[in-house]
């Protein structure tokens, strides 16, 4: 088991980073920075490696770092490996990104003030995972300051041994299958999972013909823990996915008996005291499930990617979680699904 985790920690994405043309004030323009970015890391943490390439050419002002891929601003709190798996249907090596030091798109990206913001996001995700697994986040809250620092440093340095030392004190455990179940192992049986579901309307055979993601509305960012029941049956990745995304597994009936009509009645009842204005329409329409519930049988899963690999669906899910999860104990799964265009809107 250690072997696979090592591969994950040592995994890196080769980046070729270009400074945005609006920020180039010198001739000749600077060459792109060639950086190896750890899969389990985050883009803003690369600042110290990137800055030296461009500092002499930047216009005056304060740095507010952000990246885009083919014009799509990149969400900095998503691990680098996940961004690559999600946005490059056909892996591009090196991955060509554009870096900006000015003009942060606050309307599209949540603020990032460097390492502190990334660390805050990481620690809170870890607490969230703890809460999902244990029903509270006492494990993380009770970490000593020095242990927390060591944990964070292990992420910054990509040091698995250091990480194992500090995270073993967390007792967030490993998942066991019914066969290997021991007394005292993971009690709640809930696995933290983040799903990134990219919906496309067009069909394509090869990944290189896949359409591009030009808008985050095309991707549903879903936080859905998986409950593992200790029933003694062999629980595979396929079983887990059917559980997590029942709306996309063709032929599978819907879980609830409620017809779609009832749900839209509930929606209309809510009219008073709404927080803010109703912008339901602008949120990714793939999130509003009604059109998809009626066409779930036509949905086609094109791709399932975890840590850069497309695992065989027969693999035991416990293996997938224990070996492929990220350091904050979430398993990130990228899914590309083709759904027919039911709605004109």
């Amino acid at each position: 088991m250690m072997e696979a985790q090592k591969y994950v920690w040592e995994g890196a994405i080769p980046l070729q980073i270009h400074l945005h043309e609006s920020e180039i004030t010198s001739l000749p323009p600077p060459s792109p920075a060639l950086i190896l970015a750890p899969r389990i890391g985050y883009l803003p943490l690369l600042l110290p490696l990137i800055k030296p390439y461009f500092s002499s050419t930047l216009p005056p002002g304060q740095d507010t770092l952000w990246f885009d891929y083919k014009g799509l601003p990149l969400k900095w709190y998503i691990p680098t490996g996940v961004l690559f798996d999600l946005l490059c249907a056909e892996p591009e090596r090196p991955w060509n990104l554009t870096v900006h030091f000015r003009g942060y798109p606050s309307n599209l990206l949540i603020p990032c003030e460097g390492e502190e913001s990334v660390k805050w996001s990481f620690i809170n995700s870890l607490k969230e995972a703890d809460y999902i697994i244990n029903g509270n986040c006492k494990n993380v809250m009770n970490m000593s300051q020095s242990d927390q620092v060591e944990l964070w440093r292990s992420i910054m340095d990509g040091n698995l041994d250091k990480y194992m030392r500090s995270s073993s004190k967390l007792k967030l455990g490993t998942v066991t299958t019914a066969e290997a179940d021991m007394v005292g192992q993971v009690k709640a049986g809930k696995i933290p999972v983040r799903l990134y579901v990219w919906s496309v309307n067009e069909d394509f055979e090869d990944m290189e013909d896949a359409p591009e993601v030009d808008n985050w509305d095309q991707i549903s960012y879903i936080n859905r823990p998986l409950e593992i029941h200790k029933e003694g049956k062999y629980f595979t990745l396929h079983d887990a996915l059917k559980n997590l995304l029942p709306e996309f597994f063709a032929g599978k009936p819907l879980i609830n008996d409620k017809p779609c009509i009832e749900e839209s009645e509930d929606f209309q009842k809510v009219s008073s005291e709404d927080v803010g204005s109703s912008t339901g329409a602008e949120e990714g329409k793939e999130i509003v499930s009604q059109p998809m519930e009626s066409c779930c049988n036509d949905a086609e899963i094109k791709l399932i990617r975890i840590q850069g690999i497309e695992p065989k669906l027969e693999i035991p899910f416990s293996w997938v979680v224990n070996n492929l999860k990220n350091p904050e104990h979430f398993l990130h799964i990228c899914v590309c699904v083709k759904i027919p265009n039911v709605n004109a809107a």
């Binding site: 709190y77 805050w120 960012y221 936080n223 859905r224 879980i255 929606f267 927080v275 339901g280 949120e283």
Partner: protein, 92 residues
């Protein structure tokens, strides 16, 4: 669990922590399909502050891009999503 109530409302209960002002009206409804960022903005406006720190169940601070419905399904208690707010970091 995965498919129900994706388009219906979630009841959010706000609770002041530490130095934060207490709101007279502390229960609100928000669409499940909205992001948590909407809740954060709402709290900022209600307490008249530029920044607030918000937590779920006095435990952790979720990512603003998370969907309210996911937070409710995963962490809701008694049919509500309990959001604690403070003007300085409460649980660091």
């Amino acid at each position: 669990m995965a498919t129900d109530s994706l388009s219906s409302a979630v009841i959010v209960q706000l609770k002041a922590t530490a130095d934060a002002p207490i709101l007279k009206q502390n229960k609100f409804k928000i669409h499940g399909t909205d992001k948590f960022a909407k809740v954060i903005d709402f709290v900022c406006r209600q307490v008249h502050r530029e920044t607030v720190f918000v937590y779920i169940n006095s435990a952790f601070s979720p990512n603003p891009d998370e969907l309210v419905i996911d937070l409710f399904n995963n962490f809701g208690v008694d049919g509500k999503l309990l959001v604690n707010y403070a003007c300085s970091v409460a649980w660091g």
